[in-house]
Amino acid sequence: MLKIKDLVVKVEDKEILKGVNLEVNTGEVHAIMGPNGSGKSTLANVIAGKEGYEIVSGEIWYKDINLLELPPEERAKLGIFLAFQYPVEIPGISNATLLKTAINEIRKARGEEELDAMEFLSLMREKMKLLEMTEEMLSRSVNAGFSGGEKKRNEIFQMLMLEPKLAVLDETDSGLDIDALKIVANGVNLLRQDMSDRAIIVVTHYQRLLNYIIPDFVHVLYNGRIVKSGNKELALELEAKGYDWLKSEDKVTV
């Protein structure tokens, strides 16, 4: 579903990703772990198409589409969703308006009919219940005045509403207490119930989240490269040993 080949990315003349290779197939859940500054968020943002990154070389293919040629909204319309590490506040636009616009843009792109107000409302109610959210959040401006936990939950709510094909979660667990973490993980697992045309990438610093979202594959991103890949056991190994032991491995691979 997603194929990243030798991706080299610069930010303000500094090389952040130094040749990333990654293949994610339909039905799989991948975890990308790594210490701060290893390039995890850069990778997530480049997949989503954020500006301000210089793609020096490499390719990103989604199915058989060259993603790097598309603006972010076109990628979103293909079903790529990014749950933001730091969701921005957008005063003046209600959550409901954002979602209705987003869903209908994506439906339009897929050649489906727009949802009418009633269908939309019942869909929202259903998903909110799953995430233990209150309905007054719908009329509030997007993320405005939300606590850190509420913002993250709102990201997962949007993800469930938009039903992405490829969901990328950028450190969604950071800043969450254990109860909120469980709710967020529960949301991801709901999406996981139907993986027939879907893949999920979970970017995280800690192994903690992976207790609740069991990944099929774990990759360690270190200093701009994926230095180690394995199954869920790798996450536990990282939890036990920390990231320091990778430094020596990194040197070996260079």
Partner: protein, 480 residues
């Protein structure tokens, strides 16, 4: 992403949507202004002697005045002798639309405001001003049954001289300011509305303005009188074609509300703002003022300003009657090199008077947007109340927003509140919305419409839709 910048550039290069020139035979005066021109103008319009003298008096006051330069706007000097003060389509007068020049009708259709359509669909009576002469006034008979007068000011001068003489210049005297004096001397046409006692005008009254003839200053004059216990909602909306020379527009609008009367005046202004370098575009120097003269009277201004190269405009309310109410709701958008210095004045004279100011400024490109407002509570205005809210929204980092609130409180029982905020549409917000499948232009439009919601709610329904579209057009290509 390289692709995106291409798209944005394309959008940014879209030309002013309503820029076209209509080829209609015009009758024009020679350039320049002097007593003879004014006499000629007055004669051309078949005006009575008192009107000619009124104009000449205004002209002599104007000669002694100087063009004001206190506003936060900059433009090359205007040569008032290089302007043509009269231009009119040759064939007139017309009794109905069928008699109008087909070219003219075509022009209206290009603007998306076919009069026939308007009449049938919207139930709006349209007094269409094409350059300087009213071409068609519709729905007049229906309104006449209720005793409502809705006609061109030229017609009113002839048909209702008592009303005109009583009220013309009573709110904005010819000596009020430089541009008002100029307008009083040379105004070509405009609208006149009179709502009799106790009558609630059953439809929105509407005028579409259009500046068409090359190098012709447009000097509109509007006078609206709401007699005791009456109500009227008036809409003003306009577009203008592309022009290289700057065009001067100096309108005067006077509103008078007597006891228990209410006037709601809404404007959507979309004149040519000039090109990206700031060349061309309309200079809009307008004096708009309402007199809430009677007890419990109410005057409400709502404006959405997206056009003009320069806007100098302060729709004001004089709250003279006890318990009278003044309101000002404004959205002013500037993009590229547009400059706007706009706001309001609320002059509290009566007791228990209340005023509300909600101003939303949006600046993009390299534009400059200033809010300038005066709230004055006179010594006799016991228990006056004012609430002001001035918000500025910046798009990009080359534009400017300024707020100049002036407060003069001369009565200790007054309560005056002022709130101001400044915010910025950030790239992060845009990207967030992009990532949810919403394009850059739609994202800006969503944010801006959310920001302006309070003002749009004050507009009549069909106008609100138009205004929201207009904002999107005006801000196209503003984030790249």
């Amino acid at each position: 992403m390289p692709n995106e910048s291409v798209d944005i550039n394309q959008i940014a290069q879209q030309e002013y949507k309503y820029g076209f020139y209509t080829d209609i035979e015009m009758e024009t005066f020679p350039k320049g202004l002097n007593e003879d021109i004014i006499r000629m103008l007055s004669e051309k319009k078949g005006e009575p002697q008192w009107m000619t003298e009124w104009r000449l008096k205004a002209y002599h006051s104007w000669l002694k005045m100087e063009e004001p330069h206190w506003a936060n706007v900059y433009y090359p000097p205007i040569d008032y002798q290089d302007i043509r003060y009269y231009a009119a389509p040759k064939r007139r007068p017309l009794k109905s639309l069928d008699e109008a020049d087909p070219e003219l009708i075509k022009a209206f259709e290009k603007l998306g405001i076919p009069l026939e359509e308007q009449k049938r669909l919207a139930g709006v009576a349209v007094d269409a001003v094409f350059d300087s002469v009213s071409v068609a006034t519709t729905y007049k008979e229906k309104l006449a049954e209720l005793g409502i007068i809705f006609c061109s000011i030229s017609e009113a001068i002839k048909e209702y001289p008592d009303l005109v003489r009583k009220y013309l210049g009573s709110v904005v005297p010819p000596t009020d300011n430089f541009f008002a004096a100029l307008n009083s001397a040379v105004f070509s046409d405009g609208s006149f509305v009179y709502i009799p006692k106790g009558v609630r005008c059953p439809m929105e009254l509407s005028t579409y303005f259009r500046i068409n003839a090359n190098e012709t200053g447009q000097f509109e004059r509007t006078l609206i009188i709401a007699d005791e216990g009456s109500y009227v909602s008036y809409l003003e909306g306009c577009t203008a074609p592309i022009r290289d020379e700057n065009q001067l527009h100096a309108a005067v609008v006077e509103l008078i509300a007597l006891d228990n009367a209410e006037i709601k005046y809404s404007t959507v202004q979309n004149w040519y703002p000039g090109d990206k370098e700031g060349k061309g575009g309309i200079f809009n120097f307008v004096t708009k003022r309402g007199l809430a003269k009677g007890k419990h009277s109410k005057i409400s201004w709502t404006q959405v300003e997206t056009g003009s190269a320069i806007t100098w405009k302060y729709p004001s309310v004089i709250l003279q009657g006890d318990y009278s109410i003044g309101e000002f709701y404004s959205v002013a958008v500037t993009n590229n090199r547009q400059q706007a210095d706009t706001g309001t004045k609320m002059i509290h004279i009566g007791k228990h008077t209340r005023s509300t100011i909600v101003s939303k400024g949006i600046s993009a490109g390299q534009s400059n947007n200033s809010y300038r407002g005066l709230v004055k509570i006179t010594a006799n205005a016991e228990y006056a109340r004012n609430f002001s809210q001035c918000d500025s929204l910046l798009i990009g980092d080359k534009c400017g927003a300024h707020t100049f609130p002036y407060l003069e409180v001369n009565n200790p029982t007054a309560r005056v509140e002022h709130e101001a905020t400044t915010s910025k549409i950030g790239e992060d917000q845009i990207f967030y919305l992009n990532q949810r499948g919403i394009s850059k232009e739609d994202a800006i439009s969503l944010i801006v419409n959310g920001y302006c919601k309070e003002v749009f709610l004050e507009l009549p329904m069909e106008f609100a839709v138009e205004a929201s579209k207009l904002l999107s057009i005006s801000l196209e290509g503003s984030v790249g």
